[in-house]
Symmetry: C2
Subunit: 320 residues, 2 copies
Amino acid sequence: MLAVGIDIGGTSMKIGFVNEKGEILHRFRLGVNHEDGQVKMVKELGELVNQEIEEQGYKASDFVGIGVGCPGCINSETGRCDFSGNLNWHDLDVVGLLNSITGLDTRIANDASAAMLGEAMFGAGKEYKNLVLLTLGTGVGGGVYINGRLYEGNEGKGGELGHMIIRMHGRQCTCGSHGCFEAYASASALIADTKKAMKKHRDSKLWDYVHGNIDDVNGATAFEVAKLGDPVAEEVVKNYSYYLSIGVLNYCNIFRPDAVILGGGISGQREYLTRPIEERLAARHYGFPMSPKVRVFVSELGNDAGILGAASLAFEKVKK
Amino acid sequence: MLAVGIDIGGTSMKIGFVNEKGEILHRFRLGVNHEDGQVKMVKELGELVNQEIEEQGYKASDFVGIGVGCPGCINSETGRCDFSGNLNWHDLDVVGLLNSITGLDTRIANDASAAMLGEAMFGAGKEYKNLVLLTLGTGVGGGVYINGRLYEGNEGKGGELGHMIIRMHGRQCTCGSHGCFEAYASASALIADTKKAMKKHRDSKLWDYVHGNIDDVNGATAFEVAKLGDPVAEEVVKNYSYYLSIGVLNYCNIFRPDAVILGGGISGQREYLTRPIEERLAARHYGFPMSPKVRVFVSELGNDAGILGAASLAFEKVKK
């Protein structure tokens, strides 16, 4: 059987026909036209899915259903997107619309929850039953996998792992609160910290790396320049690793999962990202040394994490 | 069917024969004699259980099994107590010993996890399927109930909810880390904060309340004196409520449970404890106002929470 995985982003929707091994047999895209109304956007999406199923020689009955990973505030119980800032969606019945157009059973979840399930089903978490995923991007997204199933909390509104306060009275967060994990450990926070260090240290190699253009700083910049031995970049990376390890440590003590999986662009740093965290965990988690070690992995699904995560929602729904 | 619930404390073990309605039909105690070896202590316990079953006219087959709630570092998968400071137990096969003496199926868990399950089965959480319990005592114990089952994490070492860092570089915690929730929100922390405020304000009514004897301060003192309008006590309570609300808020964003239940002696303050937290939650949790409200309750089982929680472990095991 196949599933349709729909990864909704702010500029385009990526869609894949995925089999139970996690192979994407066919993929296509739909641009997000912000001038269309929200209902029209989803209808167009549903009609495109129908069309591609037919053009590729499949039948609806080849599919277990549709899974949708969507940014924003998703009610996975009602199937609605309550609010998505990037998409300008408000109280939109995504599941109802897609189901009525395609006839396929449809399930929606927050994009980080979808990515969590994708890693558990097809990626870095395949062998484990208790997992936590942190996606390090504009914010910090979170996914929780417990006893072999996705855990989403009441109305699917749990797993907001970026909004755990790790420093009371700390940095302002975009959510309105202060000291949230995401205000320290997101790619945005790392970029801001990198720029701040550059402004303070005009002689740092960070400037050479971006050819003097501070707007070119991204989530990899500090890591790459630290590898060249620049002390300013090393300090930025050291602080970032520390912040990240506080959050990972907290989730170890809370969930004691088999593993914590790190996703998002920064996860491309692989062992440069995971090693300092594992070292800190080994020395610091509660109950050490009698408690089991928690592994720290980076995401394995890369650019396909969104489509595969979305498809995994449809596969899990069938197993329920 | 009945269950034997064993609530192990630092000075005595409280045991009850509990029915499926959560009624304690018979109860007895065994003093903890720290001069006995650890194995002897557990053997004596098992033999006492056998003896009471017989004396009360029951048969072993009337019982689904034994549940044990134990302080310290418990491996609920192997049934061993890895370490318990108060009891001076090290790598003790509690489940194996009790099972071999009584012939009854036995399950052990951390005492806060047991209390969580007790509240879910018989107490304040009876109507819900996703719950978080925080016991405010010497430390902050934690229990997690997900999709209608106790969640304990790998080897039963999860749910260490008191050791979530809420203030990086913050107060020293007894666990060796800094800034843990328990260093701010435990009864011990409240008592220390009350004493600190008293030393700074010799004219506070807090002094009258304890008849000038600062050693008489307990977890209720600041609350009781705040009710009399003393500004120093009010400030202590206000800060404590704030610290507690940070942790509760974090657990709302992480789990989005149906309710958070507060246990331990301080929970006797009831709405004086819960109201300020609910007010803060209503204004601050992520996704507000679109995310579901999380209720905040105090424990309903009171002094019997330990025995009932332990017994619930045996009842849940049977349902598995």
